[in-house]
Amino acid sequence: MNAETTRRALLGLGLGSVGALLVGGAAATAAPGTVTLGSLAFDVPTDVHESPASAALGGPSWAWRGDRPTAAGAFIVLARADLASSDVEEVVGWLLASGLVGALPGLVAQTRRTRTTPGGGEQVRLDVAYAAGPGVTYHGTLLVATRPAGPAGVVLVLGDDRLTAGEVSSVLDSARWIS
C-alpha cells in the first residue's frame, strides 16, 4: 500500500511538473502580436504595446509606435510604410539627415546588411547608436525595406544597454510584405 501510494505520488509529481513546464513554456513563448501597416507586417512581443505619439517615441512621424513600459529597460519599436521611394539608400539618407541639426548626437551607424524581404524586394539593416538624453544611449537596428513599385517600409527597434540582439532580431526577422 505504501509502495503504491509512493508510486502514485511520484507519478502525480511528474505529471504536475510536466504541466507546469508546459504552462510556463507556453507563457514564455506566447504568440507575438502582429502589426500591419499597409502592405508591411511584422511581429512584436506581446508585452510591447502601441503608444501615442510623444518625443520619447520619435514624435508623430511614425505610423506605429510601441514600447514596453517595464523596468526591464527601454524597448521601442517604431514603424511606417508610406515613404515614396524604391531605393534603400535614399530612405536611409532621409532618416539620418536630421543628424545635421543635432537630432542624433554622437551617431554611430554601421554594419549594413542587405537581404531580401519575404514577399519581395530588398531590405537593408543598419545598426545605430546615439545619445538619446543625459547619460542615456539608445542603440538598435534600422530596417529599410523597399520594392520596385514602392512605397518603402521602415522598422526601427531601439533600446538602452539592456536591449539584446535577439530581441531586435525577433522583430526585424518577422518583417514581410503581405501583398
Binding site: 518625443a55 520619447a56 517615441l57 520619435g58 514624435g59 508623430p60 512621424s61 511614425w62 521601442i76 517604431l78 511606417r80 508610406d82 515613404l83 515614396a84 521611394s85 531605393d87 539608400e89 535614399e90 536611409v92 539618407g93 532621409w94 532618416l95 539620418l96 539627415a97 536630421s98 543628424g99 545635421l100 541639426v101 543635432g102 537630432a103 542624433l104 548626437p105 554622437g106 551617431l107 554611430v108 551607424a109 549594413r112 543598419l126 547608436a129 546615439y130 545619445a131 538619446a132 538624453g133 543625459p134 547619460g135 542615456v136 544611449t137 539608445y138 512605397p151 531601439l158
Partner: protein, 432 residues
C-alpha cells in the same frame, strides 16, 4: 461604221490614260525636285505631314525631330573655372522642342555627362517625403506623365535618344488608344518603348521634424563616444566667422539612382569678417552612407578671403570650398562633426580666413588642409539673387554661366599639406 467609232474611242481613252500617267509622274518628279531644294527641317516636316495624312494620324512618322547631337561646351575662361568644374561642373543648357510639342531640356557638362528634363509644365513643389507625401506626376506631353521633381542623369549622354524616343512612343500609344482604329493599332504595334524611370530624385526634408526618440532631461545629451578623431567643435571660431545649418528652411535630398549617391543640401547662415553671410552646403554620401565630399558655398558682399583685391566693379562674391573626404580618419572627423548636439557649424577663420588652424580643432585643421577654395565675384549683381543661384547650383550639382552679369574676378586658394601658408591667387585670365 460602229466598229470604227469604237476603235477611235479606245485609242482616245488610251491616250488619255497615258497622258494622266505622264502627268502624275511629272507631279511626283516635281515634288521630289522641290523637296530636294528645301532645308532639312522642312523636308522632315513635309515627310511627317505626308506620313500623318497617309496613316490617318496614327503612324510614328519619322525620327524625333530633335537635334540631340552634342555640341561641346567651350573651354572655361580661366584655370580657376576649370578647377571649379570638379566641384560644380558648368553645363550648356539647350531647350529642344519636337514636332508634337515635346520639350526636352538638355544640360551637358564638359565631361559629356547629360542631365535631361522632360516637358515644360510647371513643377509641383518638391515632395515632403518624411511627411508622407507621394511624388506627384507631371505631364510632359498630352497623355504622358512622368514623376515630378525628377531628372534623367545620362553618363556621357548615353541613352538620350532612347529616352526621347520612348516618350514619343508613349505619346503615340495615347494617340492610338484615342483613335477608332486604336484596338487594331495596339494589336499590331507591340514594340513600343516605355519611358525609363528618372535617375535623379529630389525630395524636401524638414530637419526640425522629430523622428528619433529622445529622453528629456536637464543636462544636454552627451555623445556616447568622444570619437577617435577627437571632438570637433560646433562653436564659432576665434573671430566669430562661421556659418551654421539654418533650420528655418527645408533641406533638399537628391538621390542618384545610377551612382547610388545621395546628396543632402542645406541652407547656411552666419557671418564672415564681421558681416552677415549666407550660403549652402552639400554633403555627398556614397552607397554605404559614408561622406565622400563636403561642398560649401558662402555668399558675402565683402571680401571672401584675405588678400582678395577689390574688383573695378563692385558686387557680391561667392566662395566655394570643396572638401574631398578620402580616408577613414577624415571620415571619422566628418562623421563626428555631423553628429553633434546642435546644428552643424562650419568655422571659417581657417577655411576662408586663411589663419593657421587651432591645433585642438581637428575639423578646422582638416578643412584648411584639404579644401580647395574658389572665389567668384560678380559685378553689380544682387546678393540675394546670387545666393539663390548658388543654392540652385548645389542642389542640381551643376552651374551655368550667368548671362548678363559679368564675372569681374576669380581666384583660388589651393590646399596645403599642413594647412599653413595658404594664400589667395587671382586668376588674371578671368579678371575684368
Amino acid at each position: 461604221m460602229a466598229a470604227r467609232r469604237r476603235a477611235v474611242e479606245r485609242a482616245a481613252l488610251r491616250r488619255t490614260a497615258i497622258d494622266r500617267v505622264i502627268a502624275a509622274v511629272l507631279v511626283v518628279v516635281t515634288a521630289a525636285g522641290l523637296m530636294s531644294v528645301l532645308p532639312g527641317s522642312s523636308q522632315r516636316a513635309v515627310s511627317r505631314a505626308t506620313c500623318r495624312v497617309a496613316t490617318l494620324g496614327l503612324g510614328t512618322c519619322g525620327d524625333p525631330g530633335l537635334d540631340l547631337t552634342d555640341v561641346a561646351l567651350a573651354p572655361p575662361r580661366c584655370l580657376t573655372l576649370a578647377a571649379l568644374d570638379d566641384a560644380v561642373p558648368e553645363v550648356r543648357v539647350r531647350r529642344l522642342v519636337a514636332a508634337r510639342g515635346l520639350v526636352v531640356t538638355v544640360s551637358t557638362a564638359r565631361s559629356g555627362d547629360v542631365v535631361a528634363q522632360l516637358g515644360d509644365a510647371p513643377q509641383p513643389p518638391v515632395p515632403k517625403v518624411l511627411a508622407g507625401e507621394a511624388r506627384p506626376q507631371r505631364p510632359v506631353i498630352e497623355g504622358v506623365d512622368v514623376p515630378a521633381q525628377a531628372e534623367w542623369y545620362l553618363p556621357r549622354g548615353q541613352g538620350l535618344d532612347e529616352l526621347v524616343g520612348a516618350v514619343q512612343d508613349a505619346e503615340h500609344q495615347v494617340v492610338q488608344r484615342r483613335s477608332a482604329l486604336g484596338l487594331l493599332g495596339t494589336m499590331l504595334d507591340r514594340d513600343e518603348r516605355s519611358v525609363p524611370p528618372p535617375t535623379l530624385l529630389t525630395s524636401s526634408l524638414d530637419l526640425r521634424q522629430p523622428l528619433w526618440p529622445r529622453v528629456e532631461g536637464q543636462a544636454p545629451p552627451r555623445p556616447p563616444r568622444s570619437g577617435k578623431a577627437g571632438s570637433p567643435s560646433r562653436v564659432p571660431g576665434r573671430s566669430g566667422s562661421s556659418v551654421s545649418v539654418a533650420t528655418d528652411r527645408p533641406a533638399v535630398s537628391v538621390f542618384n539612382r545610377i551612382s547610388r549617391e545621395s546628396a543632402l543640401v542645406v541652407p547656411l547662415t552666419g557671418s564672415l569678417g564681421g558681416r552677415a553671410a549666407t550660403g549652402t552646403m552639400r554633403v555627398l554620401r556614397d552607397p554605404t552612407g559614408a561622406v565622400v565630399s563636403v561642398l560649401l558655398a558662402v555668399v558675402t558682399p565683402s571680401r571672401a578671403v584675405p588678400g582678395e583685391p577689390l574688383a573695378s566693379v563692385p558686387g557680391p562674391a561667392v566662395a566655394y570650398a570643396q572638401v574631398p573626404v578620402r580616408t577613414a580618419t577624415e571620415r571619422d572627423v566628418v562623421a563626428t562633426w555631423l553628429a553633434g548636439p546642435g546644428p552643424a557649424v562650419v568655422p571659417l577663420d581657417g577655411l576662408l580666413g586663411l589663419r593657421r588652424p587651432q591645433a585642438d580643432d581637428q575639423l578646422e585643421s582638416f578643412f584648411t588642409r584639404a579644401a580647395t577654395v574658389t572665389v567668384l565675384r560678380y559685378g553689380l549683381a544682387d546678393i540675394g539673387e546670387l545666393a539663390g543661384r548658388v543654392a540652385t547650383e548645389l542642389r542640381d550639382g551643376r552651374r551655368q554661366d550667368w548671362e548678363g552679369v559679368p564675372l569681374v574676378e576669380a581666384g583660388a586658394v589651393a590646399p596645403t599639406s599642413s594647412g599653413a601658408g595658404r594664400r589667395f591667387v587671382v586668376d588674371q585670365a578671368c579678371r575684368t
